[in-house]
Amino acid sequence: MNYHWNWGIYWEASPEGTGSYADMLWSGLLVTLEVSAIAWVIALLIGAAMGVVRSLPSPWAKRISGTYIELLRNIPLLVQLFLWYFVMPELVPDAWGDWLKQMPDAPFWNSAVGLGLFMSARVAVQVSTGIAALPRGQQAAGTALGFTLPQTYWYVLLPMAFRVILPPLTSELINTIKNSSVALTIGLAELTARTRAMQEFSFQVFEAFTAATVIYLLLNLAATWAMRLLERRLRLPGYGAG
């Protein structure tokens, strides 16, 4: 192989003049973490709401949540990001569109919201599955205690359902982090984009990608470990391994 290896490249100054290549990757990692964190909060909030709606007995509730989930699940994430970033500003009234286009960090907020909504459909399915997995008696017990339906959901069903679905939620969290790399297509300077930039500046393809690979592996481990810790803290006596 006539590839010229240079593992010291990370500590060489990048042509951007703002530090070394390691700093470049670090800045990308921070953006990846920020976007994933915001997207994950959106996914959890809307996913929980849509999951609850999906578990309601009314046919209209099922139709609304079903439409939402099918729409977001059957369009590729990349296309969804394009819709938010390129199409959305043209479809809203002009003043809003101008505001959207001139917003500082438009790629950042577009990716965070787009990714969050994309993941929310998956979370919604998990939440409604979790609620369906609970014994019937749980809701009956809530009603017997004099809870209203919202109270039953808030104090009884959701806390239990979230415990049941923690393991699949862990993989959805990891998926959120992995999917944030798609945002490089709308110009977000996240980890994979910064890795690409490092590769283009330095021509050290494999060193750049190796670093990104290791970072993503560590992120995976960290997310898995954090969720397992959470799982242990939230475990209820009598509901052992779940």
Partner: protein, 230 residues
């Protein structure tokens, strides 16, 4: 706003979008699904029936692939394959690999990790007695796998495998990062040439939605038909 939505722009682009773009996307999806299923089955077999070392390597591969973003893997293969080819063929310089071959190899290797998990789950769900019965009939381990276990796994897992293929169909849109002309790539090229971003991206979203929605409805119907009652 919708007032200047140009349906004609879409009509004019249709032949290019489908003849060049969609045929690329579908070819890539089908070949990747087939290759991924074959390789994935081999990996699953290595994890279940292979020696300790082989099982460990296979498990490591699956976990490694599943931890990485597809976009990163696409870039990895795009840059790695020319060097691998040089090393394999002993050529004096990195060989030239077309975008399609590079993408196909990426998706086969990437999807194999996901297909192998499906196949592994399927193989483990077949009752123990089945392979014992096959062995008692004088079949070898390989024969029992080929004639008894795998046909049942393929049948019960068909809906899951097809659902994964729909995911794969959506994921092929990521070859956009290599500027290949898949369906989305074609739409985006027209969008930029004609300044018709709204029309082209809305249309692309609609087409993806219709195909994936109808396909997943069909899979759901299939699911009830292929279920083996035990």
């Amino acid at each position: 706003m919708f007032s200047d939505f140009d349906f004609d722009a879409i009509l004019r682009a249709l032949p290019y979008l489908f003849r060049d773009g969609m045929s690329f996307t579908i070819t890539l999806t089908l070949l990747s699904a087939l290759g991924g299923l074959l390789l994935g089955t081999l990996i699953a077999l290595a994890r279940i029936g292979g020696g300790k070392l082989l099982a460990m390597v296979a498990a490591g591969y699956v976990n490694f692939m599943r931890a990485l973003p597809l976009v990163l893997v696409i870039f990895w293969f795009y840059f790695l394959v020319p060097y691998l080819g040089q090393w394999l063929t002993g050529a004096p310089r990195p060989i030239k690999v077309g975008g399609f071959s590079s993408a196909l190899l990426t998706f086969v290797m990437f999807e194999a990790a996901y297909f192998s998990e499906i196949m592994r789950g399927g193989i483990q769900s077949v009752a123990r007695g089945q392979s014992s019965a096959a062995l008692a009939l004088g079949m070898t381990g390989g024969q029992s796998m080929r004639y008894i276990i795998l046909p049942q796994v393929l049948r019960t897992m068909l809906p899951v495998l097809l659902t994964q293929t729909i995911v794969l169909f959506q994921d092929t849109s990521l070859v956009y990062v290599l500027s290949l002309t898949d369906f989305l790539g074609a739409a985006s090229k027209i969008a930029q040439r004609d300044g018709r971003l709204v029309e082209m991206y809305c249309f692309a979203a609609l087409v993806y939605f219709l195909i994936c929605f109808l396909a997943s409805q069909a899979v759901r119907r299939l699911q009830t038909r292929v279920a083996i009652i035990r």
